[in-house]
């Protein structure tokens, strides 16, 4: 792997460091969180890839949204996403954030999470296994490498639309808009 190629490091340390130190926000949204503990402990050891659970959003740059997103947790997800610092990536975990999954007709769950916060990568499967996480992470590496993991820039650019969608659901949000 290109982890220890000094040339790459010197040319673009930011990209390399973003790739090899992804601190995941330890925030269990849905049923997928049951997959995170095995992936970070002995058997599947995510730390090899530099992924450790970060205690709060300020210290993290990877946001794993695991499992279905109900209306109530969407508020917390938006708030946490906005509190994360700038080069941040989100990975939709499981089929429910993609299109609502098996709760496609439920009045209470969000169908397309992409409408509310930008998602860089998806992992299909109704609770994919930890190996799938690492596949997703490696894909994320390539995206970062090719500067395509630009969810946060998309969020900043058309923040008005995101904000409009969010307010369309809740009527009025409790915190002021992030970008003027």
């Amino acid at each position: 792997m290109d982890r220890n190629q000094i040339g790459k490091w010197l040319r673009s340390p930011q990209k390399m460091s973003n790739k090899y130190s992804l601190h995941a926000v330890y925030f269990c949204t849905g049923c997928g969180i049951i997959e995170i503990p095995p992936s970070i402990t002995t058997r599947w050891d995510a730390e090899r890839f530099g992924i450790i659970p970060a205690p709060n959003p300020r210290q993290a740059n990877l946001f794993l949204i695991t499992g279905y997103v109900s209306l109530k947790t969407l508020k917390a997800i938006i708030r946490t996403y906005e509190q994360m610092l700038e080069p941040k990536y989100t990975v939709g975990f499981g089929s429910c954030p993609i299109n609502g999954g098996m709760y496609w007709d439920s009045y209470n769950t969000i169908k397309k999470l992409d409408k509310y916060i930008p998602i860089d990568g998806w992992i299909a499967g109704c609770m994919p296994r930890p190996e799938a996480i690492f596949v997703a992470v490696t894909h994320l590496w390539t995206l970062i490498e090719k500067d395509m993991a630009t969810g946060y820039i998309k969020y900043r650019k058309n923040y008005k639309q995101y904000r409009a969608n969010q307010e369309k659901i809740y009527g009025s949000l409790d915190w002021p808009p992030l970008y003027k």
Binding site: E47, P55, R58, L85
Partner: protein, 312 residues
């Protein structure tokens, strides 16, 4: 010449500090029977933090973390590493004790400014824990100072080089044990990881530290590990000397280089032991921690002091 020594000891301490953090994570991984990140993972983390757009809560939020790092780096200059010592003749242990205050105070100021209750709870726990282990640390330093009748660390190291290590001399064995007992508390390792408890109060004081603030905080964390263990090695394990084997080449460049290597080896040894302790223990509650510290290590240290004072 002094400036050169300053830069050299700064580089040594920064590198070994980051190395210690990486080593700790690697050893923890090994104990958990998994591969764990490469040794230089903290360096990658620091570079990544640096490139993140941080969030600041005010002027003191920035100033505090800077003061904290200044405090830690300043102490390094007053510590003799092997026989490299830039400032250790101006003020001795008292100045070290006082500059050690600077780093937690700076951290406290910036985390207080972040207006987050988790940070305030973390800081109040950290200060109470520090107060409790300062009781023991001060008695240990006093017993050493009154044993060697000097307040300069440089002379203590020289005396130990000539005579026997103070860890070995029967009079100072008790302060050494007391220091080892409170070492996890000073390093902030597991049994006493009360201030930075990541689950309970989400990383305590550093809850609002983002990009470059977190970078400075990690470097500071590494430096604090380096200082605490360097102080222990200087005080008790005779600094850069190994039973006088290398006295012959002590004056030359190679002599100081070898003493530096010995010094670092001793430090790694102590650090590995404390990481083992860190891996095994659960996190204590604050009352339990203060009760423990103020009963066992304190009594050992007081007995040690009484012996030292009684003898001479």
């Amino acid at each position: 010449m002094n400036i050169l020594l300053m830069i050299l000891s700064a580089i040594i301490s920064l590198v070994t500090g980051m190395f210690f953090l990486g080593l700790a994570r690697k050893i923890m991984a090994m104990i958990h029977w998994r591969y764990g990140p490469p040794i230089y993972q903290p360096l990658i983390d620091v570079i990544r933090y640096f490139h993140q757009r941080a969030v600041s809560h005010g002027f003191i939020f920035d100033l505090g973390i800077i003061i904290s790092l200044i405090g830690s780096l300043l102490v390094v200059f007053f510590l003799p590493l092997g026989n490299i010592s830039s400032f250790s003749n101006s003020g001795g242990l008292l100045v070290i004790l006082y500059i050690l205050i600077l780093s937690p105070l700076g951290l406290a100021l910036s985390s207080g400014e972040s207006a987050n209750p988790n940070a305030s709870i973390g800081i109040s726990r950290k200060l109470i824990l520090t107060l409790s282990y300062e009781f023991v640390l001060i008695i240990i330093l006093l017993s050493l100072m009154s044993q060697y009748q000097t307040i300069s660390l440089q002379e203590i190291v020289m005396l130990q080089a000539r005579k026997v290590w103070s860890f070995a001399s029967w009079k100072l064995i008790l302060p050494g044990i007391a220091y080892l007992l409170i070492l996890p508390a000073m390093l902030g390792f597991r049994p006493f990881e009360i201030a930075g408890a990541s689950q309970e109060i989400s990383a305590g004081p550093s809850v609002e530290f983002g990009g470059k603030y977190l970078a400075l905080n990690t470097i500071n964390h590494g430096l604090l590990h380096f200082i605490t263990i360097a102080l222990f090695v200087n005080l008790f394990l005779g600094g850069g000397d190994l039973f006088g084997i290398f006295d012959s080449i002590s004056g030359t460049f190679w002599g100081s280089f070898v003493s530096l290597i010995i010094f670092l080896i001793k430090m790694i040894l102590i650090f590995v032991i404390s990481v083992f302790i860190n891996a095994v223990f659960p996190r204590l509650r604050l009352e339990q921690a203060t009760k423990y510290i103020l009963y066992y290590p304190l009594s050992i240290a007081i007995v040690g002091l009484i012996i030292v004072v009684a003898i001479n």
